[in-house]
Amino acid sequence: MAQMIIDTANHIAGYAAKAARVKVVAAYPITPQTTVVEKIADFVENGEMDAEYIRVESEHSAMVACIGAAAAGVRTFTATSAHGLALMHEALHWASGSRLPIVMTVSNRAMGAPWSIWPDFSDSLSQRDTGWLQFYCADNQEVFDTIIQAYKLCEDERVFLPAMVCLEGFILSHTYMPVKIPDQEKIDNFLPPYKSGWMLDTNRPLSHSNLVSPEWYMEFRYMIQEAMENAKQLIPQIDREYGKHFGFEHGGLVEKYKCEDADLILLTMGTMGSEAKIAIDRLRKEGQKVGSVRVRVFRPFPIEEIEKLAENVQMFTAIDRHISFGMEGFLATEIKASIFNRKDHPLVAGFLAGLGGRDVTFETIEKIAKKSLKWMHDGKVERETEWVDLRK
C-alpha cells in the first residue's frame, strides 16, 4: 500500500533506504544528518528493515565499510554532512575508482573553520571531482524519489558509479513535508535486486585494485568518464520512467521554469530553485521575460541542456551557494565552460548567496534578477562575481 506521510527529509532518506532494500548501512552521526541514522537504527531494530547497521567509529570508516560490503555483494547506503563528507574524501575516490554503486545522502552543511551547522554547498561541491554522481533536491518527495532512482541508475551496467543525493541541512533535513511513499511491491518492480560489475567470490579469486602502472591507469579513468556520459543519457530516462510508475518526476538533469521565451535565466541548485519560481512569477507579473533553471544534477554536469538554453537567451545568472576561493562559484564556472565555445554566447553573471545558511528568499532572488536585468540591458556584467547582501 502506498502511504502518505509527513516527515523530514532526513527521515525520508531512511524510508528510501528501507524501500530500496538496502542490506548494509554503515554510518556515523553528524549534524544535520543525525536523524537519518537514528531513523535507520529504529527501522533495523524493530525489524522493519532487513539490514545490518554498522555503527562505525568515523565517516572514513563508514565509506570504507560500504566499499567492503558492496564488494562483497550487497546494496549499501550511508549518509553524512560537511566534515564527515570531507573526512571520507579519499574513500570517495576509492569508491568511484572501484566502480561500486553506493548511494549516500548528504545533508548539506557549511564547512569550517569556523564551526557552522547551517546549510550551504561547500561540503558536496568540494567533492565534485571524485567521480561521484551528484543530485541536488528541492523538496522531501524528491529526496525519496531520487534515492530510489539513484540505485537504479548506479547499478546499471553502463554506469556502475556511486551517487550522492544532496539535501540542504535544516531547510529540508529537519523540515516536515508531505511525501508519498509508494507501494513496496511497485518499488521492487522498478528496482531490481542488487547488481554490481564485479564481486569478491571464492569461486573466482581476484585481487581488486592492486598497483596499476601508467601503462593502464588512463584507460580506467576514461571508463569512469564514459560512465558519467552514459549517466547523463540515463538520468532523464529513469526520471520519466519513475514518473510513469509513481507519478513524480523532477526534471531529469535540470528542472526548467518559464524558460521558453526568457531573456534572462536564473540558475540555482537545491531549495533556491523553489524560491526562484516565486521570484520568476512576480517578475513576470511586471512584464519581465525571465525564467529559472534548477540544476538537479551537478555531476555529470548537464552541458548539453545549458547549451540548448543558451541558444535563445541573452543572459544566464548563476546563484551559487559555495565559492571556490581564488576563483568563483562552481555553477557560474561550469555554465561558462559549457557555452564558451559557442560563437555568440549569453552573458553570464555569478552571484553568491546563502553561504553558511544565510537565508535566501524569493525577495533576495528578485533583487538578483533585477540587477541582472540591468546588466543585461547594459550589455555587460558589472563584475564577474557579486556577493549578495554582504555587510559593508
Binding site: 575508482g97 572501484s98 566502480r99 556502475f160 560489475g197 564485479w198 579469486p205 581476484l206 585481487s207 581488486h208 585494485s209 592492486n210 596499476v212 593502464w216 584507460e219 580506467f220 576514461y222 571508463m223 560512465a227
Partner: protein, 94 residues
C-alpha cells in the same frame, strides 16, 4: 590465469587482477647465489619447503625437496635452516 588485455574494451571496468604464477616475471633472475641440495644429506624434513618465502621449493611425493630455479630468489633461508646442512649457497655463474 591472467590474460593481458590487448584493447581497452578487453579491460575490466575496475582494476581486477587474476592469480598468476610469476606476476613479477621469472624472479629467479634476482639471484646472486643459488641453493644446491646434496640429496645424500637430505632427511626430507620439509623445513626448507615450509620456510621458503617464495614457495619456490616443492615437495615431491616422497617429501624430498625440489627447487624451482625460475623463481628462487637465492635468499638462503633454506640453506640456513637445513638441519643437516644439505643445502649450500653457490655463487651464480655469469
Amino acid at each position: 590465469m591472467s590474460v593481458t588485455p590487448k584493447t581497452r574494451k578487453e579491460m575490466p571496468l575496475t582494476p581486477i587482477s587474476y592469480p598468476t604464477v610469476g606476476s613479477m616475471g621469472k624472479t629467479g633472475s634476482w639471484r646472486t647465489f643459488r641453493p644446491e641440495i646434496d640429496y645424500s644429506k637430505c632427511t626430507k624434513c620439509t623445513l626448507c619447503w615450509i620456510y621458503c618465502p617464495d614457495a619456490a621449493i616443492m615437495r615431491k611425493e616422497d617429501d624430498s625437496p625440489i627447487i624451482d630455479y625460475d623463481y628462487c630468489k637465492g635468499c638462503g633461508i633454506c640453506a640456513n635452516e637445513c638441519p643437516t646442512k644439505a643445502i649450500t649457497m653457490k655463487r651464480e655463474e655469469e
